[in-house]
């Protein structure tokens, strides 16, 4: 299994109150899977995604990705681990506005020891995969929403990460652009064998996943094809 969560609980403190978000979640996801995470607002799906990305820590339980139990890593080690293993796609793309598409995609590669030429080759390959090789020198403001999200996907895959995490990747797009982005994610999963976990509200988006997992009030209520 690539992803293994054991009895994961997450709660936040607001003043004196402790607000539970996830309670005793246990899931296992095999390598090469395309998992859809569904559930209403506040069900804990984004929190689950954050725990998988190593940008948040569980209150209790363990999160293991591959051979690494990331819930035990220090902040420094976790940042280095994220750079190597995680590609994250945000709902609002979150490209850096002062950087071109090329520079945005190059950003995670600055953390590697690759030469300038090697970085350039990687960036152009990633941009070609998302069909935006000809837009490399465009700034985010010069791109459509769909194109911006494709640049964000290129940024997520450019380091060839172990796991791709997408948080509502089509949530801010029209249906045509959303469909193109989903097709691209499917292609990354099927053609490039990328393991993907995608949070979505959209049933059409969820249809593209191989397996679905439903969360409600922080607990798993329904699993389709996922080892629990």
């Amino acid at each position: 299994m690539l992803i293994e969560l054991r009895e994961v609980t997450k709660s936040y403190k607001r003043d004196a109150l402790e607000i539970p978000v996830l309670e005793g979640v246990t899931i296992s996801v095999p390598e090469g899977d395309f998992l859809g995470l569904m559930g209403p607002s506040g069900s804990g799906k984004s929190t689950l995604l954050n725990l998988l990305a190593g940008i948040d820590r569980p209150t209790r339980g363990t999160v293991r990705i591959g051979d690494t139990e990331i819930s035990r890593l220090s902040d420094r080690a976790l940042a280095a681990w994220r750079a190597r293993h995680i590609g994250f796609i945000f709902q609002l793309y979150n490209l850096i506005p002062v950087l071109t598409a090329f520079e945005n995609v190059e950003l995670p590669l600055l953390l590697t020891s690759l030469s300038k030429k090697a970085r350039r080759d990687h960036v152009m390959t990633a941009l070609d995969i998302v069909g935006l090789g000809d837009r490399a020198q465009h700034y985010p403001r010069q791109l459509s929403g769909g194109q911006e999200q494709r640049v964000a996907i290129a940024r997520a895959v450019v380091t060839d990460p172990t796991l791709l995490l997408a948080d509502e990747p089509t949530g801010d797009l029209d249906s045509k652009s959303g469909s193109e982005v989903l097709t691209l994610l499917q292609r990354l999963n099927q053609e490039f064998k990328k393991t993907i976990v995608m949070v979505t509200h959209d049933p059409h988006a969820a249809e593209r996943a191989q397996h679905l997992l439903h969360l409600e009030k922080g607990t798993l209520v329904e699993q389709q094809g996922v080892v629990g």
Binding site: I55, D56, A79, R82, A83, F90, N94, I96, V98, L111
Partner: protein, 383 residues
């Protein structure tokens, strides 16, 4: 090095804000370097003072004068080899804004005791021979475009010199042979001024040349002793002390100018820190995204702090170089009060370092804020 491009691109995000920050640091450093030039100029003049010249003024203050009869008494003091005197005239050339030092001197002895005033033999002779003649420093001549033979009229600035204007003819343009003498002063015959003065035979200060610098204390004491308990008691000191007391007429300049410089620098520091903090706040999501991508906390800290450091150092360099160009180019004159007025290379370096210091200190809090940002909270704030 690969992060430098990223840092510079971030700094150019809001060009106007970056330009204003750079400019505010530049102005602070410009002021700092210029004020340092003033203090250094006074310091240089004091340091360059002759050890064989001692100056006698009224014990109460140098603004009060002494009778000419003091001259013979001073000359009779053992150890005094030569004597000259001068008066502050305070004349106005066309407009009070055209301020420069103009003093009435006993020409022959003054030029003898001050070999740093360099004239050609012809100019010297012409000056000594002409009762209404004057000599001007080359800096002053350049400032007003004066040349030998020109007629200059000074209005009276101090009532004791009457009410009528004083016409002069430029008989020489002197070069300064040392920091004890500036090149921004006008000098003319004491007799010419004394003739028209409402109080005849008054002298502002005496300059004695002593034979042995080691006897300065004894000779000074002997001079003052001569006039003890008289209506015109004196205070004799080294030329260095005289220069210092001249400066102290303006109050504690070191403290005053130092306080101004410090206030400007601290204000600029707060402005720069506030600007950086605003900039970081606007970039909360971007920083969270970079942290998600795997950027370490210390890398984020270095990027933000480096941005502040770059902007402020640039401002510092701009201010220091501008100060050097303007002050040294005599575009900002000191009216002859400061003989060697200029921004030194050391002060340029200090100015740039000050800019860097402002950038470093101003960047620490915003950079720490950015580095400690909790990724999930930052992303949630926008989503």
């Amino acid at each position: 090095m690969k992060f430098v491009g990223l840092m510079l691109k971030s700094a150019r995000r809001s060009k106007r804000r970056t330009a204003l920050t750079v400019l505010s640091v530049a102005i602070a450093v410009f002021l700092f370097a210029s004020l340092r030039a003033v203090l250094d100029g006074f310091q240089a003049a004091t340091e360059a003072s002759s050890s064989t010249r001692i100056v006698t003024i009224r014990s109460t203050s140098m603004i009060f004068s002494m009778p000419t009869s003091h001259a013979d008494a001073i000359k009779s003091v053992p150890g005094v080899r030569d004597l000259t005197w001068a008066n502050w005239f305070g004349g106005i050339y066309k407009d009070p804004k055209n301020f420069f030092a103009n003093i009435a001197i006993e020409p022959e002895s003054y030029l003898r005791i001050y070999p740093e005033i360099i004239l050609t033999p012809d100019e010297k002779r012409a000056f000594l021979d002409d009762r209404t003649g004057c000599i001007v420093g080359e800096g002053l001549a350049r400032r007003f475009g004066w040349k030998v033979g020109d007629r200059i009229v000074l209005q009276v600035g101090i009532p004791v010199y009457g009410t009528q204007d004083y016409p002069f003819v430029v008989r020489g343009v002197y070069r300064s042979g040392g920091a004890a003498v500036d090149n921004q002063t006008m000098m003319f015959h004491w007799k010419y001024v004394d003739e028209r003065s409402l109080e005849k035979g008054q002298i502002g200060w005496f300059i004695s040349e002593i034979a042995n610098p080691d006897q300065e204390a004894q000779v000074s004491s002997a001079i003052d002793q001569k006039f003890a308990n008289s209506p015109y008691e004196t205070k004799t000191d080294t030329e260095k002390a005289f220069q210092s007391s001249f400066v102290s007429m303006f109050g504690n300049l070191n403290l005053l100018l130092g306080s101004i410089a410090l206030a400007v620098v601290i204000t600029t520091l707060f402005v720069a820190a506030n600007t950086m903090a605003m900039s970081v706040r606007e970039r909360t999501t971007e920083i969270a995204v970079m942290r998600t991508l795997g950027f370490q906390q210390h890398t984020i800290f270095a990027l933000i702090a480096g941005e502040g450091l770059t902007m402020a150092t640039l401002g510092g360099a701009l201010g220091a170089v501008l100060a050097r160009l303007l002050v040294n180019g005599r575009n900002l004159g000191a009216g002859g009060f400061i003989p060697d007025f200029g921004v030194s290379a050391t002060n340029v370096t200090i100015g740039i370092a000050l800019g860097a210091f402002i950038g470093l200190v101003a960047g620490i809090i915003p950079a720490t804020m950015a580095a400690r940002l909790k990724i999930v909270d930052a992303l949630r704030r926008v989503a």
